[in-house]
């Protein structure tokens, strides 16, 4: 027994490791001749079986509205659309694509993520029919966000306008203050309100699980676009203008005058550091209640406000004369053109069957944009969208802003940067910044995201 043990002690281990090795060397991977892998552009992927699977980051109530928005079309055209929403879409899509389990269509919340996914080689180019629909309905800028290396993959879906400052018209009246016309006036306004109420004027919430810090990126982007102009903004987003450059540093300083000032933040929640501990969505409740006079957040905050109660315990309203209203963060000089930063979703295909293309074409159409927008809560940059369909005053003004040719529109920069910066070091940097790290060090850390 002993002798034998010595002789072959490792045999089972070796054979098990061998199976593992064999697999390590040989499994997976796309092979053009492979019957069940999705290979080159010529191969047929997916089948016209009357069902199109869509996978996206939209969940809960918003997902139900999405399903409602295409229900009628789906019935008329005999194509069943099966939508799966996933909060962890951003991390899961990579696993699904690498694992070879792709949906027919996927809704990408960021062009950067679309770009990274295209690099994995499974995304289909946009079919001809969809191209024409796209060109009819979308501005060139919006088309370009769905392009990777000059090839069109994604079709824009919904949009959001960032950089709204939320306030209470009633409180403004009570304090005798008005909507600021310049950035400096806005900073001064906060100080004035703080003085009058002896409480901080601004509130902010950066907590968002793994994505903590993102609400701060919107702040910085607004400041960069307004202070240094669209050209500098584009260069910054493209990585040509470094985070450590004076333009970006000054944007941080301007925002810091508000967010790092213990006199001005964090209304209703605590000190500066409490920004990191406050969930970004909770801010809506404080705004509705009036405990937070000013906050910076995208148009979607309206939904949170409407879900909350005002100081009198009634349902809060969002209107120019309601409990809450919002203005777009003002430019540096009063006569500068209106600049807004916004975001949006893009739908790209992994299958190239006929039905998938039909669904994608429909989603690019003005019909769908009108259908979804009239269900409420969102807007779209689709030029065929009738602003009257927007569900609220605020959204209507946002649509008009998007459709106004004089508006300088720029896409959310952090969504366009490489993931290691836009979805990582930028977010983290802002959290550290709020925690008290010096701006210079923070900027260096963010910039270092490009090096890996």
């Amino acid at each position: 027994m002993k002798k034998a043990q010595r002789r072959l002690k490792l045999a089972p281990v070796i054979s098990m490791a061998a199976i593992g090795m064999l697999l390590a060397g040989c499994s997976g991977g796309a092979d053009p001749n492979d019957p069940n892998a999705s290979g080159g552009a010529a191969a047929q992927v997916g089948q016209a079986d009357g069902v199109v699977d869509i996978y996206g980051p939209v969940t809960g109530l918003e997902a139900e509205l999405l399903e409602k928005s295409w229900a009628k079309w789906s019935e008329e055209n005999g194509i069943k659309i099966r939508y799966t929403g996933d909060k962890n879409f951003e991390s899961q899509i990579g696993i699904k694509v690498q694992g070879g389990d792709t949906p027919d269509l996927a809704v990408f919340p960021q062009p950067g993520l679309l770009q990274a996914t295209v690099a994995q080689g499974k995304v289909q180019q946009l079919p001809e029919a969809v191209q024409s629909q796209l060109q009819n309905n979308w501005s060139e800028d919006w088309q370009n966000y769905g392009k990777v290396d000059g090839v069109q993959y994604g079709v824009p879906l919904m949009a959001s306008v960032k950089g709204y400052i939320w306030y209470s018209p009633k409180q403004f009246e009570q304090w005798g203050v008005s909507v600021p016309q310049t950035w400096d006036e806005m900073t001064a306004l906060g100080a004035e309100i703080s003085k009058k109420t002896d409480e901080p004027a601004w509130c902010a919430g950066f907590a968002s699980g793994e994505a903590s810090g993102w609400p701060g990126t919107d702040w910085i982007e607004d400041a960069v676009l307004r202070q240094s102009g669209p050209e500098a903004y584009d260069k910054w987003v493209a990585g040509e203008l470094e985070f450590t450059s004076p333009e970006i540093a000054s944007a941080f300083d301007s925002v810091g005058k508000i967010l790092l000032d213990p006199e001005q933040v964090n209304a209703g929640y605590g000190d500066v550091k409490s920004i990191n501990a406050t969930a970004f969505g909770d801010v809506g409740t404080a705004v509705a209640k009036g405990t937070c006079p000013l906050t910076h957040q995208a148009s979607f905050l309206e939904g949170y406000v409407l879900d909350s109660k005002n100081a009198d315990g009634e349902k809060a309203t969002v209107a120019p004369d309601g409990d809450v209203w919002a203005f777009v963060a003002p430019p540096v000089k009063a006569d500068d053109p209106v600049s807004i930063v916004g975001g949006g979703e893009f739908v790209a295909a992994f299958s190239n069957d006929e039905e998938t293309a039909k669904v994608q074409e429909y989603l690019a159409s003005a019909d769908w944009a009108n259908s979804r927008v009239s269900l409420g809560g969102v807007i779209s940059a689709n030029s065929g969208l009738d602003p009257a369909n927007a569900s609220s005053d605020l959204l209507r003004s946002a649509v008009e802003l998007l459709q106004d040719p004089n508006t300088t529109f720029r896409f959310d920069g952090s969504d366009l940067m490489p993931k290691s910066v836009g979805s990582d070091s930028f977010w983290k940097g802002l959290v550290d910044w709020i925690d008290g790290k010096p701006t210079k060090e923070v900027l260096e850390n963010i910039q270092s995201g490009y090096d890996s």
Binding site: L23, S91, E210, G270, N276, S423
Partner: protein, 379 residues
């Protein structure tokens, strides 16, 4: 097999359960039936063994459903099976013993090989490759872990988790199990501490929001409500370095104490009553009875519980992910591993972090092996 699963998908979900369990039972039954007769002598059983060694692999491959390579693979399987058969015949422990062993071990080992060993090998390889997989970088990724603030923080925090959580949960679980042992309503007492295990983490993260939440004015977090009642300013518990990691560890302790309690309570009931009685007659105090009789009696179970919770602590991910997202230096190795992989697409870094996790578990393994040897379990 794929045909079976494809067919199964068409069956109503609730019917799928008995069907798949029945299919599985038949499979296990066949394996057990075979291993029962495998070592028998005589020509008939030799034939059975031969069939098992050669026909089974071929049949499995055919059942699995093949595309372009039926004949080749079947031939390969037949050859391998024949080799297995002859090796088995000459086996020192008698013909059939090797096949018998395969019957017991093969299902688990095959699944482990494809599902865990292969990814482990892949991870180990990419730990030494550049982040984009382009080339060999030696120990570069490990150097990154030990020099970057994120990597170091993750490592240190993981050590805190693995040092605190297992010991505290086991002590609390054990104490509770001893205290309620044989008490009236023991069943319900157990349920109270077991309950955290039944709550999915999606719910648990909300539970602890009601604990650690911070704001001005009316608090919705219990901790701040207590301290503000005494006139203190609200504290951002999860941003409070360096204690915030411990506040997160508390959550794991809360869930794992129930595990420890249930297992240890059952073990305590196995401690021979007459020993306790003898000790009591000798005038031993309750504490002495516990320390000298109960504790030695449940020693191996305590080790199992400690080991299991230690591994859970090393792998902790979702608590950090949903409570803080790694902010304020709360990141841990498993969280950092996923973060580097998903957000930064840095496969090299994330694999290096995974390899460090493997290395951290070594002391636990070595300790367990030595315990096992001491107790003569591994005969």
């Amino acid at each position: 097999m794929s045909e079976f699963f494809q067919w199964l998908a068409g069956v109503p979900p609730l019917i799928q359960v008995p069907v798949v369990l029945l299919a599985f039972a038949i499979l296990i039954g066949a394996i057990l039936g075979f291993v029962e007769v495998a070592t028998n002598g005589g020509r008939a059983f030799t034939v059975v063994r031969f069939l098992a060694a050669v026909v089974v692999p071929v049949a499995i491959l055919l059942v699995l459903g093949l595309y372009n390579s039926v004949m080749w693979v079947a031939a390969l399987a037949a050859v391998l099976g024949a080799v297995l058969f002859f090796v088995d015949r000459r086996s020192r422990s008698g013909a059939g013993s090797l096949l018998q062993l395969s019957g017991f071990l093969a299902p688990a080992m095959l699944l482990l090989a494809i599902g865990l060993i292969y990814p482990t090998i892949r991870t180990a390889i990419s730990a030494f490759m550049a982040n984009d997989g382009s080339g060999f970088v030696g120990l570069g990724n490990f150097r990154w872990v030990f020099t970057s603030p994120d990597g170091l923080t993750a490592l240190l925090n993981t050590l805190i988790w693995v040092l605190v959580a297992p010991v505290v949960s086991t002590i609390i679980g054990l104490a509770y199990a001893v205290f309620i042992d044989k008490s009236r309503g023991e069943k319900y007492f157990k349920l109270l501490v077991f309950m955290p295990m039944a709550i999915s983490f999606v719910g648990a993260s909300i539970i602890f929001k009601f604990f650690y939440d911070v704001r001005q004015g009316d608090q919705i977090g219990v901790l701040n409500a207590i301290i503000t009642a005494f006139g203190a300013k609200p504290v951002d518990w999860l941003g409070l370095e360096p204690w915030n990691t411990l506040f997160l560890v508390v959550i794991l302790i809360w869930t794992q104490a129930g595990f420890a309690m249930v297992i240890l309570s059952a073990a305590i009931k196995g401690v021979p009553a007459e020993q306790l009685e003898a000790a009591a007659l000798d005038g031993a105090s309750p504490w002495q009875r516990f320390a000298n009789v109960t504790l030695p009696g449940i020693r191996s179970t305590v080790i199992v519980v400690l080991t299991t919770i230690s591994i859970a602590s090393l792998k902790v991910f979702d608590i950090v992910s949903s409570m803080t997202g790694g902010r304020s230096d709360t990141t841990v190795l498993a969280y950092e591993m996923v973060r580097q992989f998903q957000l930064g697409a840095r496969t090299g870094y994330s694999s290096a972090l995974a390899v460090i996790l493997f290395i951290l578990v070594l002391p636990i393994i070595i300790y367990n092996v030595r315990q096992h040897k001491k107790q003569g379990v591994m005969r």
